[in-house]
Amino acid sequence: MTSQVLDTSTMKPQYPWKKSRPTVVIANSLIVVIPMSVYAFFFFFTDLPGALIFIAIFLPIQIAMAVIMTIVALGKRRVGDAVLSVLSVTAFSLVLALLGSVLLSVAARGLPAMRFSFLTQNNIYISPTTELTYGGVGHALLGTLTVVAIGTVIAVPLGIASAIYITDMKGRLAGFVRFIVQAMSGVPSIVAGLFILAAFILTDFVGFSALTGGLAYAILMLPTVARTSEEVLKLVPKELRDAATALGSSRARVIMRIVLPTAKAGIITAVILGVARVVGETAPLLLTTSNTNGTNLNPFKDPVSTIPVYIFQFLGSGYESSIQRAWGAAFVLMLVVGILFGLARVLSPKGKAR
């Protein structure tokens, strides 16, 4: 039997399901156009506030239009789909509008304050009437850096150790430790601050300082570092560990020399995410580092300024100039968070940079 190759080069892939019927196209347009026209009418020709028109007129009409048009064009079965679409797009728009507003406000109001001096000077000679070209967040940046550094130094080894315990050592208490770490991630930031306050400051062990702030931050960072590290360590293939053990490595060596280095990128990501989580926390710092306008280079003694507290301080003072400074600090903080996030994503393109 002969078998010739079929000449299929003339056939082109088609997508028949993507063709729209005219009825559907018209219906979709009406669903958008009619409610918007009604909204515009009420908005421009009556005194009613926009929000009211939106909730009381636009949304109901849009839902009604969606239902009616769907029944007309596609049949009763698809009504659920249509309503779901309208509602979910509304939710999407709401979230985008509100959170977008946060980001835009920070950018718009904080950017004008950005200049090199803002980033380096402190506020020791600043009063509410001082011009905005003087003063800055220098001391707060330094403080934040110090506090975060102390927190990291404490939380990272403990967090990684916990992760190692859970994944590689599989102690009998592994499940329990996991549970505890999970519970710890729910500790409110203010409680962490209160604890350090009660245990160290009120007992006169240490005073308000960057150190106590770092301790509070450590409590908050530990669960994040531990959990992310655990996920990363789990990704290291079992074969790698087996190979090392078969070659005669002790368990310690296997973990320190093989597993950890393999997971290096992921663990760094875990650390970065841990930092990102805490860098904006205000409450614990209010109770532990207190605040100051000058630069304090001693992390073990005397209050230190930090960016979140800086924002708090200037927001609370009420003067116009102070508010501007607060926005500036907010911008710096968002930049820091953004950079950290970007770093985390760059370092783990496949992993979870969450």
Binding site: L99, M184, T282
Partner: protein, 363 residues
């Protein structure tokens, strides 16, 4: 495949590990006696335990890891102990009134006459969080459904990243924005609600002032926790088994049908976990609502959410901390303890629900 050597058939059968046979034999006294003999056909297996560390350096390593891992437990316990013990004098003095009463009097001159009771703050925390959930939960779930099922691929991926970033916005910045940008807008909404819905007790306002109300605080909290819930919900929904969605579609289900009957039931546990996570965050939030809510320490605002009168435990702690008398600080620590216990319970319930739903799926 070579030839099998010809062997005794006995060898090819695996005998049971032990066989008990009864044999009869002549004992010394020449009497027939029966005896049971237990014949083991192969030696007892040595149960290999987990490899224990042998060298001192290994032991040191293990020891270090164990201690470090248990540090979390130590910290958790330490928090409880310190908060409890520091605040004990005040708690003991107030008794149950600490959480049910509404008086707060501090005085450095007359310490014995001080009273510290947190019910208005406790209720306020609860009210704010409930308002936040009412707003955030539907919006988050709808947004998650949108990202997973409705949005085109590119948009879906962008939104996933965007929501992750939004979840990382520090609460101080949300508080800043909430007070300076959002409050005027929300005031307008409050006035509208009051104008048109005054028949409902919720929306009555007896002070003609609409700023710094639980309504606004609830909105700010909602804005803060929506990304958190959305991230979790999106993750869980995207893990709905494709085969179940196929089955639903194959039976003639529309998209909404597949979501309603398959995706949402499957994701239920995870979504509840996410909601609880958001709730825990809302309960403990301090700064986001500090400027946005007017704290009234001795009167409870039960349901007039448009009134500029509310409570939040965490904000109270920060508010009173600066000028607190020594006993007052103990009271604040006690309040922190109560807050901690609340969030602990919420966290534990969340974990239990999530773990149970995971178990159900594996079963």
């Amino acid at each position: 495949m070579g030839c099998l050597p010809i062997v005794n058939q006995e060898f090819l059968r695996i005998k049971p590990f032990s066989q008990t046979k009864v044999i009869r034999f002549l004992n010394d006294k020449n009497v027939v006696e029966t005896q049971e003999i237990t014949n083991k056909s192969h030696p007892e297996p040595i149960r290999l335990g987990r490899e224990k560390s042998r060298t001192p350096s290994d032991k040191a390593f293990s020891g270090t890891i164990v201690i470090a891992a248990l540090s979390s437990l130590a910290i958790l316990v330490a928090i409880l102990i310190y908060l409890a013990s520091s605040s004990w004098p005040v708690l003991q003095k107030e008794g149950l009134d600490f959480i049910t009463g509404s008086t707060w009097v501090n005085s450095s001159a007359n310490p014995e006459e001080q009273t510290f009771q947190i019910w208005p703050m406790l209720y306020g925390t609860f009210l704010n969080s409930m308002l936040a959930l009412v707003i955030a939960v539907p919006v988050s779930i709808l947004l998650a459904i949108f990202i997973v099922f409705i949005a085109p691929d590119r948009l879906s991926r962008t939104l996933t990243v965007l929501v992750d970033v939004l979840a990382a916005i520090p609460s101080g910045i949300i508080g800043l924005w909430g007070f300076l940008v959002f409050t005027p807008v929300a005031e307008g909404w409050s006035k509208l609600l009051n104008q048109y819905f005054f028949l409902i007790p919720f929306f009555r306002n007896d002070q003609d002032q609409f700023a710094r109300s639980p309504f606004i605080a609830g909105w700010v909290l909602a804005i803060m926790i929506t990304p958190i819930i959305t991230v979790v919900a999106r993750e869980v929904l995207s893990q709905t088994p494709q085969e179940l969605l196929d089955a639903a579609r194959g039976l003639g289900g529309s998209l909404w049908g597949a979501v309603k009957f398959v995706a949402l039931p499957h994701a239920r546990g995870g979504i509840v976990g996410g909601v609880m996570l958001g709730l825990g965050r809302a309960l403990g939030e301090t700064i986001a609502i500090y400027f946005v809510l007017n704290l009234i320490f001795e009167k409870v605002n039960y349901f007039q959410i448009l009134n500029p009168q509310g409570g939040a435990i965490a904000s109270m702690i920060v508010a009173k901390f600066g000028e607190a008398t020594p006993d007052e600080i103990r009271a604040l620590l006690g309040a922190g303890l109560i807050l901690f216990l609340m969030t602990l319970v919420v966290n534990l319930i969340a974990n239990w629900i999530v773990a149970r739903s995971v178990r159900e799926k594996i079963a």
